[in-house]
Subunit: 180 residues, 2 copies
């Protein structure tokens, strides 16, 4: 994993991909699959929605840290399987053969099999709505990998894979944030 | 536009597409382009992030109503152009040749050129973070149209078009919400 400038890290979540979120509570790592998230600022700041029904929730509340990992289509089945079981009765890193890499600023691990990883701190927890507000503090990218297509949950058990890219930079030049 | 069951309406935002949001304040319609949104519940409930820097913000705060419209790739250039100008100095419906259709439960209009439209009420406004919490109350779909591929903002002026779909329904059957 190579450093990704923080100014570009919002671009990982902006297109709405299915993501993995890792936590570590007293040495016990866990990982969950989430598609309920959004960008809140270019700094970058993100929102995640999760509640007590998720095993990772307690670790997130307690440690106030996590890593957002961006999987691509080559591991899509694993990502869906991660989302369909609970960390309460298994070690998901072992079960799914995920490589936990040491992060620099948080205890939650990076995932070696993912395209990118973002180390985050919980800066607010809006309990009324189960929204976590996260500030990214460090980002990593596996820039050598060829497969970069992310997946998008449709909510019915089917998933959309990234298709072609359209370039409208000339229309948006005056509105783009610095550093992208 | 044909009625879309509310239980399926979360599927419109779950994959993270670029969306249009319409408002109407004392007869003045407006429309903005947004990619900072997420699903909050299957009911469905959505979160949108927008603030005073958007002309639609005032109408959203005042009327507590909007329509979320889902555009597809055939009008992607228009959607980007809508996002690159302000309703403060122009009528965007007229400027971009959009067809405003009458909604049933809100004053904000549906957009005839979009794949789907969701009538929403603002049920909370988390001012500290500029998050609007929306409950969908009615949904519409242009089920006759052939083009159904949505687009996803990358944040740098380029956009990803939906590609192929992968079916993992057999892995997720026990975890799917009712009605999808």
């Amino acid at each position: 994993m190579k450093t990704l400038p923080l100014a570009k890290a919002f671009m990982l979540l902006e297109p709405g991909p299915l993501i993995l979120v890792t936590t570590a509570d007293r040495g016990k790592m866990n990982v969950m699959t989430i598609s309920w998230h959004m960008v809140m600022d270019f700094t970058p700041r993100f929102a995640l929605l999760t509640g007590p029904w998720n095993y990772s929730y307690k670790a997130l509340v307690k440690t106030k840290e996590c890593v957002i990992a961006i999987p691509t289509v080559d591991i899509s089945r694993t990502v869906v399987e991660i989302g369909a079981c609970s960390g309460s009765d298994s070690d998901k890193f072992e079960k799914f053969g995920l490589t936990a890499l040491k992060a620099k600023s948080v205890r939650a691990p990076l995932i070696g099999e993912c395209l990118a990883n973002v180390e985050c701190r919980v800066v607010d927890h809006i309990r009324k709505h189960d929204i976590f507000v996260l500030d990214a503090i460090r980002a990593w990218e596996d820039d050598g990998r060829k497969e970069r297509r992310t997946i998008h949950a449709r909510g019915d058990g089917t998933f959309i894979v990234d298709g072609r890219t359209i370039d409208y930079r000339e229309l948006m030049r005056s509105r783009l944030p610095p550093g992208v």
